[in-house]
Symmetry: C2
């Protein structure tokens, strides 16, 4: 069920690996809620993942189903949310092509997100054209569904500005309001660090707890977790800031009063890491167990999962096709009256 006043959300993930607790806290959890309040499109961004994974296309395509399993496991309902595969919606490539004419190369090069990502990947002057232009492809993903809300991290805000610039430029060019501007929805949740305390939880850095983690994997991850390196004896005062175990408790333990009490105890000394870790381990085991269980159920029915993706992709093609039709009509590209 949808209605005209409902917001339209476009969000998704690059399919480069299974999702982890960082994704859960940062986006998945709120998507499960939002699917009741908005028309939500969830993009399995394989095409976008290809832009910086040339030669690793197998990794990208194999993880499409993995990410879909994660979505379903956390409670994304395919009857409420449209889960679809980017590469199977050719309308997005077409729309990208028309938007590419409306932005200059130097504007793309000035995009702070792209600048940072180019630095991280060490591309320097050897930036693949597909990578430099992926914000345009992202604008096509957003505008194809006339999305009004796009959940993003603060580092992704320039992408939304870029998208809205393209929307205004397109509408101005054709002299009518065809595409729709969107609003960035910033997450209020601080980014979850990796278990090693590094800035970002990431499967490839080996510091992640995935949503399909076994009980042993969870216990081991909690055991290995970075705490306060100066907290050598139980009786020593310990530091809570930058202590990954407490950051995780803040994120995953609903009993904030109890956590605050533990923090105070830890600060004044007398509370051992093992006690805090035991509590976190219990919380994470309880959180992940049902997710892992559902994930395994879906995993046993891969044909069923593919059918969910096929149907979602059909729905996505219909929505994107309608917008593309308007776009091509506005440009006069409807020779055969379609």
């Amino acid at each position: 069920m949808t209605n005209a006043t409902q917001p339209i959300i476009l969000t998704g993930d690059r399919t480069t690996g299974p999702l982890h607790l960082g994704h859960y806290i940062g986006s998945l959890r709120s998507r499960v809620q939002l699917q009741h309040e908005a028309k939500q499109f969830l993009l399995l961004a394989d095409t976008q993942a290809m832009t910086d994974n040339v030669g690793r296309h197998q990794k990208v395509t194999e993880n499409v189903v993995e990410v879909a399993l994660d979505y379903l496991a956390v409670g994304i309902d395919p009857d409420k949310s449209t889960i679809f595969i980017q590469s199977q919606v050719p309308e997005l490539a077409e729309l990208t092509q028309y938007l590419l004419n409306l932005v200059t190369v130097s504007r793309l090069e000035r995009n702070p997100t792209i600048k940072e990502e180019i630095r991280l990947r060490g591309f320097e002057r050897d930036i693949p054209a597909g990578f430099l232009t992926y914000p345009v492809s992202q604008a096509a993903d957003i505008t194809a569904f006339k999305a009004t809300l796009v959940p993003v991290g603060d580092d992704q805000q320039p992408m939304i500005e870029q998208t809205n610039e393209l929307v205004r430029r397109f509408n101005l060019t054709v002299g009518r309001e065809v595409l729709v501007e969107c609003v960035a929805v910033l997450s209020h949740v601080p980014r979850l660090p990796g278990i090693d305390g590094k800035a970002k939880m990431s499967k490839s850095l080996g510091n992640a707890i995935t949503l399909g983690a076994t009980p042993d994997e969870i216990s081991k991850a909690v055991h290995d977790m970075y705490t306060d390196p100066n907290h050598l004896r139980v009786s020593d005062p310990g530091q809570v800031e930058g202590n990954v175990v407490f950051m995780f408790l803040d994120a995953f333990d609903p009993d904030t009063a109890a956590v605050d009490e533990m923090k105070a105890h830890y600060r004044r000394g007398g509370l051992g890491d093992s006690v805090v870790k035991r509590r976190l381990n219990e919380r994470l085991q309880a959180l992940i167990a049902p997710i892992r269980e559902r994930r395994m159920q879906f995993e046993r029915d891969r044909a069923g999962v593919l059918e969910i993706l096929r149907q979602g992709t059909m729905r996505a093609r219909e929505a994107a096709g309608a917008t593309l039709s308007e776009v091509k009509g506005a440009l006069g590209l409807n020779y055969f009256g379609s």
Copy 2:
């Protein structure tokens, strides 16, 4: 009828205006011959024309049928050649997207053809991303049809090199020979100047004779034609080099002996411009009359012309779709077994 040993040709025109004698002598004439010897795809390049015609999309789309009329008028047979509209073959946009990941921005910026075109258009730093990347889109046009021969002017040779680089890069990435390299076929005919003697005949420069020109337009164009500005009196010796009338006679008068004799006479003096122009006028009237006649016939049946384009576009989608299927299969992007 096609067979496996037949060459496959991809060629076409940006749809920014009706075609003229420069196109006739440079490409159309040989296409009429080649359609008997090769499988020929003729691209009405509206999408490519959009890359440097933002805001002038109406000019681009209106000229699609104009160029198609020119093709049919000169004798392109839609049963032998596949005439199709680029924007109506979404497979080309999809293929472009994958090829974009295989070329760097700096490689595109080094392309001499693009460099020159950027200079001509005064884009400088404000190069639209779609314009910088159009050689990749062109590579998609060529490779989608597994074209083996691509007729080009010498200034377009870098485009063919770029295409073959992408072919090799793609095949290397997927570890098999999916795309096919092509060979540039250079025209032996010198480029026809505008009637004002400027380097290039061009509708927008107002120095062209179009293929639908009326008898009066032809006569006026020949009358206005640039000759030897120092050939003031009939008795004066005149110069043949750079004399547009003689360049046109070289291109359009099959009686080369008679033309050589006129050149000698003109050089030694005693031959007036009006005599030479009269001969050229007769030749051009005779050449264009049947073309204009056929053009008018087709023009009276626009629905029929659109049906020819619709059928050609369907055939083109089939061919491009088969290649795209192989490309996506090689990248593992065939989740639904298609």
